[in-house]
Symmetry: C2
Subunit: 328 residues, 2 copies
DNA sequence: GTGAAAGCGCTAACAG
DNA sequence: CTGTTAGCGCTTTCAC
């Protein structure tokens, strides 16, 4: 049933029906009686406007594009859930895509989202997307970048305090009495990873200790990754480990479990994981407040949508040190 | 830039441009020279058609609605990732929503997806959605139900062999020499849970053992759930435990870790979880082949989209018994 | 107070 | 071979 048919049925014009349906009866100076008659009929047949036609006419789709690295992982999955929940409150829907850190794919995704006329985009960009994202910014489409900043770009950003949280984590290891701390991270130019690395270096230096860093290629997974970690542990003699992200720590736990020759290390990692509460020992970490991040993302995006000239936000939400058994 | 402007610029008509752009130059009997001239221009200005307008005109949105319980969890997250990847190959996009098992919310979500004119829906229904889903089926919109079947409905379904996999799991515990097996499950009418329960009961009976079942309310989480498990363990004297799903097992592991008075149980659970490989002991499970499930969902949905009269599929993908240390 | 009409950008039948 | 035309369903301005 379309607005046209309703109009025909009621012997009024399309525009009258449209105005009433959209609560603009007053402004359209429709008589109360007519408005009620229309509303009653509309309700009785359970009419639903065609969102597509509406979007085409208004230029607003009430859909937000969400581009993450991997919707199935323990960081982006929950983030996506919260984002969806907050957006729903404002009657927005979510079109999502995972880039799997593939720059080409990420750009294709961005293009198709623009085709679909989303009202805004939330993204954790991959490396090498500067140019595309700059173009996106130039279109003035409301945009929020999160998790991984692209330093050269001026836009809204929400993320955690990677550098200082990293410092706090490593400093805490020293305070626990560990003398020599190895770091395992991803061999990536992603800013948040570089910041975490920088934090580690500074604290190690200021404690007059020596750096021991293992950088693992991003796409090296499974056994090859474990093998790298295994030999890193064998060839060095630190007494504690710091991981730049949770899945590296999980890999290391698997290595430690499989190869009993390794000693016990003090351990702390960036990002929490359900495993860390159950492992023996339980694992200390710097936890990002995921729900808060999601909330700020939505608030910032809606702010931009409602006022295109709003100055960009740059919101840093501190991570929290969760102390468990691995740092005792 | 719109098709109209291109037409004006090139002094041809809109329809000519439209045909060429959609690769229908031949069928529209456009001269090769003209087609090339149009394509060259279109490429040079990087023209992108407005997907909204196209959808309105064709009635196809190339968007699929995905409705799950929780996009952030360890089952639906990865499923969503794979579904998206397969769908992308066919140039479809995904509009997703999490129901959090709330029937009202689930129905609202369904409604708004229909408004957006999705070309098909993939859903794991909540309880109490029979009526709504039946209406959906009546609309003939391509639909695939997965994970949780609604027995009264005739439509496409993809899921695992809950009943027989459950039997295999429990039987395996008996074969390992355990005599008395407790089951911890969700107090839910969801078919897959009932099937798993039924599998347990039958095997326990056929082994002349006794049933010991703890049914936990779905929305009881955190400490209250753990408390229930704790007292269940204290009040009974089985030597092995069977869990109907992974997060219940995770809760139990936390209880066992916290309360050292409990003995060691043989354990097996439905659904794998990254934790199970790392726990001490590692946990045996029945693993659902997530990628295969996602693939079949997409294949089935696309089949239905391409041929509305295709008979419904009902595909059961067997789960796999993963034997680890907890059953030794 | 109400309705006619133009327009959002595209498709597709049909006429030349 | 190519262009005209009439929609898709809705919004919104402006004239009556």
């Amino acid at each position: 049933m379309s607005i046209k048919e309703i109009a025909a049925k009621l012997n009024v014009s399309k525009s009258t029906v449209s105005l009433v349906i959209n609560g603009k009866a007053e402004q359209g100076r429709i008589s109360e009686a007519l408005a009620k008659r229309i509303m009653d009929y509309v309700d009785s047949i359970g009419y639903k406007p065609n969102a597509l036609a509406k979007s085409l006419a208004t230029g607003k789709s009430r859909t937000i594009g969400l581009i993450v690295e991997n919707i199935g992982d323990s960081f982006f999955g929950p983030i996506a859930l919260y984002i969806e929940e907050y957006l729903r409150k404002y009657n927005y829907h979510v079109l999502y895509s995972s880039t799997l850190n593939d720059e080409k794919l990420a750009n294709t995704i961005l293009d198709t989202m623009l085709d679909k006329y989303v009202d805004g985009i939330i993204m954790a960009p991959t490396l090498g997307q500067e140019e595309q994202v700059q173009k996106l910014i130039d279109t003035k489409l409301p945009l929020v970048v999160f998790d991984r900043r692209i330093p050269s770009l001026e836009t809204n950003y929400i993320g955690t305090d990677n550098y200082s949280a990293s410092k706090r984590a490593v400093q805490y290891l020293f305070e626990c009495g560990y003398k020599s701390i190895g770091m395992i991270t991803i061999d990536s130019k992603q800013v948040q990873m570089l910041d975490r690395l920088r934090g580690y270096r500074e604290v190690v230096d200021s404690n007059n200790s020596t750096e021991d860093i293992l950088q693992i290629p991003y796409n090296l997974v499974g056994d090859s990754r474990k093998a790298m970690i295994d030999s890193f542990l064998s060839e060095n003699s630190f007494d504690a480990l710091y991981f730049s992200t949770n899945y590296l720590c999980v890999s290391a736990l698997k290595v430690l479990k499989a190869n009993k020759k390794h000693k016990h290390y003090g351990m702390i990692t960036f990002d929490d994981h359900e495993i860390f509460e159950l492992n023996l020992p339980t694992i200390s970490c710097m936890r990002q407040p995921i729900e808060e991040i999601a909330k700020q993302i939505v608030v910032t995006l809606l702010g931009q949508i409602n006022d295109h000239k709003k100055p960009f936000d740059d919101i840093i939400i501190p991570s929290e040190l969760i102390i468990r058994e691995s740092t005792q």
